[in-house]
């Protein structure tokens, strides 16, 4: 399984912070997002705004390969400081 985390506006749009999706061979971040959209249409709404991605706590892009057991986080551009 892949654990998916959603933060800030993304969490509010999709309704909860933690999700689980099935892991598959050679799956990319974009594939994980497609699976989430099939699971719950609110993920499509979350994609209306710019999304950043982290895999195992490191920023990645949508072509990055995700493995079973990874943690993938989706969130908006950051606004700390």
């Amino acid at each position: 399984m892949i654990t998916v985390k959603a933060f800030a506006q993304v969490r509010e749009v999709v309704g909860k912070e933690t999700w689980q999706v099935a892991g598959a061979h050679n799956q990319t971040v974009a594939d994980v997002l497609d699976n989430l959209c099939e699971l719950d249409s609110r993920w499509r709404a979350a994609m209306d705004d710019e999304l950043l991605v982290a895999v195992n706590h490191t920023m990645r892009d949508s072509s990055f390969t995700v493995n079973d057991g990874d943690e993938v986080a989706f969130f908006p551009p950051v606004t700390g400081g």
């Binding site: 985390k5 933060f7 800030a8 506006q9 982290a54 706590h57 490191t58 920023m59 986080a73 969130f75 908006p76 551009p77 950051v78 606004t79 700390g80 400081g81």
Partner: protein, 155 residues
């Protein structure tokens, strides 16, 4: 080096003392920056804000940033503390300290850490206005400032 997320207020003198105590060599200059919660945004007065973060990643990203600054600017030490949770107007929100042999490096490193933190550390502000919370949008000027450090490795 230290990099911490805190859900309580911080004491600037204690952080300064911690920075000095952890210096790898005697510094010739120390620059500190403290960010405060403003009481307004582009739409008028605000009534505090809350800060959400991604716990395992936030301190990891802050530690990486402090280590990069130490390496890039030959610092003798660096520290970053960022608060999370609900903060009222004028509260301290972030502290950065940079110690170096010469002041230029310390000033540059403090700017580098703040500019990069605003685009690379997973923290999100929600401001409260007239009883309603609004997520703060990332500013293009912050992205430009961070990008400038990537393009200008000689600074």
């Amino acid at each position: 080096m230290f990099a911490r997320v805190s859900d309580t207020d911080f004491n600037q003198q204690r952080l300064y003392d911690e920075l000095v105590a952890g210096c790898a060599a005697s510094p010739g200059g120390i620059v500190t920056f403290t960010g405060l919660v403003r009481d307004f945004n582009d739409n008028g007065k605000i009534d505090g804000l809350s800060l959400e973060h991604y716990p395992p990643m936030t301190e990891h990203a802050m530690r990486s940033l402090a280590e990069q600054a130490i390496s890039r600017f030959a610092l003798t030490n660096a520290g970053i503390v960022h608060r999370v949770g609900h903060l009222s107007n004028f509260s301290q929100i972030v502290w950065v300290g940079c110690a170096a042999s010469h002041r230029a490096s310390a000033f540059d490193a403090a700017c580098y850490i703040m500019d990069t933190l605003k685009t690379a550390v997973p923290l999100w502000k929600k401001e409260f206005q007239n009883g309603t919370g609004h997520w703060v949008k990332a500013k293009a000027s912050d992205a430009d400032a961070s990008l400038a450090w990537m393009k200008d490795n000689d600074r």
